[in-house]
């Protein structure tokens, strides 16, 4: 088999740590992943604090900090950013910053719930289809392809028209729309893992088929689906925001970034800040999820190393490592980037194929 001798030796040396730990350790080296994590955490904090604020504290926090997102003040319509209102006010005089912070709830909720529906629905269907094979597989995949062939936004619009414009219908619609992508990823994972030798070993050891499915196959295939989930968080958030922007998603007075942009459209000339900030928030949020997803994918891919190449030359490096007195006391964290080793990996194909906008 065509292998690079260095990797041969490498593989012999170093014990492989369990998948999760190894991934987390890899992630530490990825600037994008860390950045993404920070953004997502920030969003999470905003959403949680807002929720607590609304439910328990009657908006006390936000009122003291920025002003009531729901309070209308006809004297301050479309006020430009100022100390009092760092992001200005909207057409009802409401503080934009406050509404943006509150809007994080909708964004996060849509992300989690819609992706959750898609994830569980998709993994179940996909694994089942791959597992059963035959015409069951065919029927399920054709049905999912049907769902997939109508462009997402258009289908969501239609579903909202049928079900009525409420936020729960929005969750549901985007959840259903997301199912085919997950199903496809997990199905391709299951199909490729099924051929692996350790499955034969499990069968030989007498494990029942469903046990094999749940204990061996699915956990190994999950990493690809996980990456898919993080990446599709972003697209779901944008999609839902797009619907709200068009007016068919979240309804007022609920604060939602997409919805804010809807009303901002007509005021673009006189109050651009009402359009700039909500959109910027969407951008940053989605960017955060995408960065995290990207970092996750690179970390899970056994072929790439996230550690960036050192700027020093190889000689300097060799000198440093050879001579203990010059050694990095922190333990030489920087290593040269490993070049990709030849060889196919269905995992990577699966993940790439599932990447949507």
């Amino acid at each position: 088999m065509s292998t690079d001798t260095s990797t041969n030796i490498q593989n012999k040396e170093f014990e492989t740590e369990s998948g999760v730990l190894a991934t987390i350790k890899e992630l530490r080296h990825s600037g994008t992943a860390i950045g993404g994590l920070l953004i997502v955490s920030l969003l999470l904090v905003m959403a949680i604090v807002s929720t607590v604020d609304i439910i328990l504290l009657d908006n006390a926090i936000i009122k003291s900090l920025f002003g009531d997102p729901h309070e209308m003040n006809s004297l301050q319509i479309y006020a430009p950013p100022s100390m009092e209102h760092p992001m200005g006010t909207d057409q009802y005089g409401r503080d934009v910053l406050g509404r943006i912070i509150y809007g994080s709830r909708v964004a996060l909720a849509i992300g989690i719930i819609a992706v959750g529906i898609g994830f569980f629905g998709g993994v179940t269907l996909g694994a089942f289809a791959a597992y059963k094979g035959g015409y069951v597989d065919d029927i399920i995949m054709r049905a999912l392809e049907t769902l997939y062939s109508i462009p997402g936004l258009v289908l969501a619009m239609t579903m909202m028209a049928i079900l009525g414009p409420s936020i729960y219908n929005l969750f549901f619609a985007y959840g259903i729309i997301g199912i085919p992508a997950y199903a496809r990823v997990i199905r391709s994972e299951v199909l490729s893992i099924r051929e692996e030798e350790y499955i034969d070993a499990a069968k030989a050891a007498g494990l029942s088929n469903s046990k094999i499915l749940f204990r061996e196959i699915i956990p190994n295939g999950l990493s690809a689906v996980l990456v898919q989930a993080t990446l599709s968080m972003g697209s779901v958030i944008i999609g839902a925001a797009a619907l709200s922007f068009l007016g068919f998603g979240v309804q007022p007075p609920t604060a939602s970034w997409g919805r804010m942009l809807n009303t901002a459209q007509s005021a673009l000339l006189i109050a651009p800040w009402v359009a700039i900030f909500p959109g910027l928030m969407i951008f940053i949020t989605v960017m955060g999820f995408n960065m995290l997803g990207d970092g996750l994918r690179d970390a899970m891919d056994p072929r790439t190393s996230l550690r960036s190449p050192k700027m020093e030359s190889l000689e300097e490096y060799a000198d440093r490592v050879d001579d203990p007195t010059k050694a990095d006391p922190a333990g030489s964290d920087e290593w040269l980037a490993g070049t990709a080793v030849s060889g196919k990996d269905a995992r990577k194909d699966a993940t790439d194929g599932g990447e949507r906008r």
Partner: protein, 351 residues
């Protein structure tokens, strides 16, 4: 004057877990028209050695030391550009291990060979194409004219390997390096390919360096053999002599572990233990941790290559006159425990 002279070649890989000393002081020679077999277990450093000759080692690896003289030229001093234009593919060519993937799937076989001919020689497009067809014919591909227009996937494994060999011959190289060219093939096809190599040697007088872990193949094709272990050459000799009179303990064990038709299966002995890490190799002689007979000195310094016959040397203290009178300690049977201490004491296992 040898065609190829390699002295003190060292190639290291700088990896997450340490420096892998894949090739750690290797010397060998190949005369014009001669075929040298480079044998050893997986991980011995054979592939890395030959790739280092052409400067094909990529980050995180680097050729850190050594002199490579080919046909009078100092390869180790040449820039990548010089190597590309003057050496790779033209004077020295490579036959890779896996014929399945070594060819570009979207271009015809003929065009791939012709491209190389065009790049390295003065031939025109048509001339290059004709040459490609001729070569394909030479290596035994039927209907070469038609088949040159076909794509790699339309050839079987053995045929593909022939294509690769044709490619290797395309610019009349003085040396062909074959890196496990038969490993990925069926046994029956292997025989054909080996025959092809023999033919080439006879017909064109090309020198060949044959990298493999298969001693049976070496027996067919190679004039001389060099045995590698953990980045170093432990023994080298003409094939017949190596086979009849192996001197180095590692070679001896290799021979005993190989199935040959004239051997009783009950005599087979697997080599005890596994090859240790190339990041932190045993001090002194690297084989000592698996060697059945060691001295204390084996752990203190690396044994030099000692002449044990005409053109035959072995890197083992057992052949050193100094130790003629001494009795080595015997480690028979089960695996010898490893202690990588720098003081050089041998394995702590006591029988």
């Amino acid at each position: 004057m040898s065609l190829l002279e390699v002295s003190d070649l060292r190639t290291y890989f700088y990896t997450d877990g340490g420096i892998v000393r894949a090739v750690d002081g290797v010397d060998f020679e190949v005369k014009a028209g001669e075929s040298l077999g480079l044998v050893g277990e997986s991980g011995a450093g054979k592939s890395v050695t030959v790739k280092s000759l052409l400067g094909l080692i990529d980050v995180p690896g680097k050729v850190v030391d050594g002199e490579i003289y080919f046909d009078g030229q100092a390869l180790h001093e040449m820039s990548d550009q010089e190597l590309r234009q003057n050496v790779r593919g033209s004077d020295i060519s490579f036959v890779f291990q896996d014929p399945m993937s070594a060819l570009n799937p979207v271009y015809t076989v003929g065009s791939q060979i012709a491209e190389i001919v065009e790049y390295h020689t003065d031939r025109t497009e048509t001339e290059a194409w004709d040459r490609a067809v001729t070569l394909l014919d030479d290596v035994g591909i039927p209907d070469a004219e038609q088949r040159a227009d076909q794509y790699p996937h339309e050839f079987s494994g053995g045929m593909r390997q022939r294509v690769l060999i044709a490619m290797a011959l395309s610019c009349d190289p003085k040396l062909i390096i074959a890196d496990e060219p038969t490993t990925a093939l069926d046994v029956t096809i292997q025989a054909q390919i080996i025959e092809l190599f023999e033919e080439i040697q006879e017909k064109y007088g090309t020198a060949i360096v044959y990298v493999t872990h298969d001693l049976g193949v070496v027996r067919e094709v190679c004039d001389r053999v060099a045995v590698m272990y953990l980045g170093k050459i432990v023994e080298s000799a003409p094939y017949d002599e190596l086979y009849q009179d192996p001197h180095h303990p590692y070679t001896q064990m290799l021979m005993r572990s190989v199935v040959t038709p004239d051997q009783d299966v009950s005599e087979l002995e697997p080599i005890q233990g596994t090859m240790p890490s190339a990041v932190d190799p045993p001090s002194g002689c690297r084989f000592r941790t698996r060697c059945p007979r060691t001295f204390d000195e084996c752990g203190r310094y690396e044994p030099p290559r000692i002449q044990v016959g005409e053109n035959h040397d072995s890197a083992c203290l057992l052949h050193d006159d100094q130790f003629e009178k001494e009795e080595p300690t015997l480690h028979l049977g089960s695996e010898v425990a490893e202690t990588n201490s720098t003081s050089g004491t041998r394995g702590a296992h006591d029988e």
